[in-house]
Subunit: 197 residues, 2 copies
DNA sequence: TGTACATCAGTGAACGCGCGTTCACTGATGTAC
DNA sequence: TGTACATCAGTGAACGCGCGTTCACTGATGTAC
């Protein structure tokens, strides 16, 4: 064996990571296998020794991007006072920076609709990642009951991802900024109602 | 002239209408020109005597679908007492029926992300349709100031479309239903805060 | 009223291209001696 | 320590296919006579 056993796994990870950028940027159908491999510094021929199909990579890349978003939320809130944590996440999500950097942003606005048209297996995997995301966000609302926190977190994620899609789609700077602002207000209002446990 | 002048325009309209169903169902990249023409009962050869390119049809079909949604909201609320109108629209949007009938539903959840990756011209056209949609929904909140109604309507549309995308993407019936429910609550809470003018 | 004709909406074969996928091959590498 | 070797990660040509688009043609139709 001329290569350490981890070498191929590292290459595979690199492909998934770079693909997650390319796919978020251009959509699930917007990048060819050859281009995805080029992003990882490889040629397309070796692709099928790493993945069963292009679709399999798309699902993996999506899952990785979801994990990264969750990790980012955890990092972002670690050193924050409890009562500011939720708003910090919301403000970072609904920022011009996130709107303008699709390739490194949350996978939901970029790929959600593609997953919705995908097969059941992919949608189940998304569902699990989405539940994780909801749980992490709900834990940033400790002043609410678990059930209410979960409901608010679910609505907040829907509002945040919808706002980002619309803000990116609107070919009109002023409208786009208005959408981000309205999204922030909307999430705050959702969280504010019946704050008491 | 062997055909009345409106004949070709009617055919064109039929193509746009049928395309709007096919594209909402399968995404902007999910249906071929040949299939889109077949939906209208035609063959693909005549396509370019009606449209400059496939993209041009996609944009027209998207715009038509947006108009239909706005018309639907107006019909739905015409005979309703003023104070119930907003909720009627929200409940119809965030219904299992809308989630499960992508082809005849709102174009934003189905095609928003595709438009976000489209050219500036298409995005400007979307922006105009989106402003219309926001205005119509804002007018269903007459108890708020125009500025606040517009902000709430914007946030509500983001929440509604985000919830539908997530509810469709979640390969898990219970989660999907939870998302619709959380979306309804979220929109209500957004509208409820500071209701007074 | 009947017929020949010009028009043009719609047809379907053909094009070039890029895609996902396959496969015979290469060459860098750790190991055996 | 140096060399021959087996392995297999990665290469790039080739495949079949479906796509968007083009174009020469057809045939149904309203009009002129």
């Amino acid at each position: 064996m001329r290569y350490v056993k981890e070498h191929k796994l590292q290459t595979r990870s690199r492909i998934v990571e770079m693909a997650s950028y390319g796919l978020r940027q251009n959509g699930a159908d917007g990048v060819s296998v050859a281009d995805l491999m080029k992003l990882a510094g490889l040629t397309h021929g070796g692709f099928y020794s790493h993945f069963e199909s292009r679709d399999a990579l798309v699902v993996e890349a999506f899952a990785l991007a979801m994990d990264r978003t969750v990790s980012r939320w955890l990092e972002l809130t670690r050193v924050m006072p409890v009562e500011e944590r939720f708003d910090v996440v919301v403000d970072a999500y609904l920022s011009p920076d996130h709107r303008d950097n699709q390739q490194s942003g949350c996978a939901l606005p970029a790929l959600g609709a593609d997953i919705a048209r995908s097969n059941q297996k992919a949608r189940r995997r998304l569902a699990r990642k989405l539940e994780e995301m909801i749980d992490v966000l709900a834990r940033l609302l400790p002043q609410k009951s678990p059930a209410e926190a979960r409901q608010v977190a679910t609505g907040a994620i829907a509002t945040m991802m919808g706002s980002i899609v619309l803000a990116r789609a609107a070919g009109n700077k002023m409208l786009s900024d208005d959408i981000l602002h309205a999204g922030r207000q909307a999430v705050r209002n959702q969280a504010a109602v019946r704050t008491a446990k």
